[in-house]
């Protein structure tokens, strides 16, 4: 076990894309957003119960923005523990019950007040992960992402920046995927050393969270965990977005092309083409025969 006064922070990033969850509610009534958040609360409580110095943060990632569910600003500002009304009567550790109530209240605020623009089922995870990284700078931390909707292909570069920043800070990124496989998260887990798991049965979310994602990195070496997924590291060409195995890379802007072209479309440099050397025909001296 870690030493007594080592702070360990767990940041749980929950994807609350309302369009995906709305469709999910019609597909399967048993597993809705509130059930998912119940599982998240169980995970958060267990993490805080493991050690006195463990800390928790929960961020909800919406379509265009991200909100901190716990700790929330209002709690930090007026922090007196003066709400006796929220302490539950069943003798639960007060920190856990406060956390649960705050999460429930904040998610209600978020879902009712945030307006939904557009019809996209993609979520912008990169911004949320960036905020999560700013949180855990001096302390040992790890991030658990619970992903529902599909990837947004436009955020590749920002996502990679976030992944490299996490790797430099030794922050693990774990991913628990509910629906469709996400190539970006697979790369994130592979590069930072975290775990990637696509859940076969969504109703058992709490079980998977507790069995697979609760132990931290030192304890994971002693457990038998799901094998690493095969990550596709092939690059996509800039012209057709196909995955290619051999490509041409511009030396100036590092854009990748599948075919040779004399001008780079991104930075508009003209490339030097190696032409075959011209061999001048040698003038043969006519032998003078006498």
């Amino acid at each position: 076990m870690a030493s007594e006064d080592e702070i360990s922070l767990l940041v749980i990033v929950v994807d609350v894309n309302p369009i995906w969850w709305g469709q999910q509610a019609q597909r399967e009534q048993e597993f809705t957003l509130s059930k998912c958040l119940d599982a998240v609360m169980v995970m958060g409580n267990s993490h805080m119960a493991m050690s006195r110095t463990n800390k928790l943060a929960v961020i909800a990632s919406h379509c265009q923005d991200s909100h901190f569910l716990y700790p929330s600003k209002s709690w930090k500002a007026g922090d007196d523990g003066a709400d006796d009304a929220s302490s539950s009567g069943d003798g639960k550790y007060e920190l856990l019950s406060v956390a649960n109530n705050l999460i429930a209240e904040e998610i209600r605020n978020v879902m009712s007040k945030t307006e939904v623009r557009g019809n996209s089922t993609d979520t912008l995870l990169a911004g949320t992960l960036a905020k999560a990284l700013c949180l855990g700078q001096e302390i040992k931390s790890r991030i658990l992402v619970i992903k529902a909707a599909e990837d947004c292909a436009l955020q590749y570069m920002n996502f990679m920046n976030v992944i490299f920043a996490a790797q430099k800070q030794n922050i693990l990124i774990d991913a628990c995927v509910l629906d469709s496989n996400s190539g970006l998260l697979q790369q994130a887990c592979d590069i930072t050393g975290g775990l990637y798991l696509k859940i076969p049965q969504q109703v058992a979310l709490a079980q998977y969270l507790l069995w697979v994602f609760l132990p931290d990195s030192e304890q994971r070496s002693q457990l038998v965990l799901p094998p690493p997924a095969h990550v596709d590291y092939r690059a996509a060409c800039f012209c057709h977005r196909n995955l290619i195995e051999i490509g041409y890379v511009c030396s100036v802007c590092l854009s990748i092309f599948c075919n040779f072209s004399p001008i780079c479309t991104t930075c508009e440099t003209a490339f030097k083409i190696q032409l075959p050397q011209m061999v001048k025909p040698k003038k043969k001296k006519l032998k003078q025969t006498t």
Binding site: A130, C134, Q137, A165, Y233, R234, A235, S251, F271, K272
Partner: protein, 390 residues
Amino acid sequence: MDEEPERAKRWEGGYERTWEVLKEDESGSLKATVEEILYQSKRKRVIESHGQVRLGMMRHLFVVIDCSRSMEDQDLKPNRLTSTLKLMEAFIDGYFDQNPISQVGIITTKNKRAEKLTDLAGNPKKHIAMLKKAVDTVCVGEPSLYNSLKLAIQTLKHMPGHTSREILIILSSLTTCDPANIYEMTKTLKSLNVRVSIIGLSAEVRVCTVLTRETGGSYHVILDESHFKELLMLHVKPPPTSSSSECSLIRMGFPQHTIGSLADQDAKPAFSMSHLDSSSGPSLGGYFCPQCHSNYTELPVECKVCGLTLVSAPHLARSFHHLFPLDAFIESPVEEHQRNGFCQACQGELKDKSIFTCPSCRSVFCVECDLFIHDSLHCCPSCIHSQTAS
């Protein structure tokens, strides 16, 4: 140290009264001044970006380390050689972090000769292992600038034109023993487009000034160990390319990583081509070159069989932030900002002297988050939320 010889040298100016920096406040405590100094040192690390200048991403760098008698001097603890080698390990880590598709080689010079410690390679482990072993070398004799430059050029001149060719010399001795005219060597370096930079550990030497000025590099002399580290780290960032370097399309392969297991019917064991001389046996998995299917354990690597450069997409992605650098945030005093006293990134209170505002999305950040964003993250957390197209 100065490029223009007309500027006054340090001894020609007045004395610098360093004690005047510290000022006491009314109660006689130095706390405010110390905090100010710490704050300034934090801000100094945010290096200004070059703007729209083409940077050399694929670099071939040779580092020449002086191992002559003057390296046993103990003005850097425990002695100059150990301190240099330790800083070099940190430099190599930082170099491959910022330039994943570049290569580095190490040359040592002593006893009027130069020899290669490691050849140009893209894998940091080998270099760091050799640096650790080099701590035991005996420092003897005089260095030879000419010989080390000649040894470096022998490899650099075969490198393709679109890469940047650089030599970084760490010179502690004030003398050099050259078999031929060093100014002729300077002309050769200029014609081959090699940029030479020097970090001096003792004092400024004229031949170094001329060498760096002619080839377009930089010359600095260290003040102490932390200054040494700063100067070394200046060379980690990719330099602006010279106008005569060519731009070309480089053919590269992106191999798939296969994790072979014994249960897999098609898995065939293969030897890794990069470790043929080591005693490790064949492995089932690894990276297979798309052109000739030879096996490699790590990337990036140049295939020994068919000559194709093999990289993975994240290696190229690591360099993207150089191409799209993040603008510096606007600093403003904290009293002007009354709305909510929380940093948008870490939700902490804004208790420092000043706050930083992103020019495009006007979100507010504290000092630590600003430093983190510019050093490691390279993108503003609020801007990437509202971007619908990157």
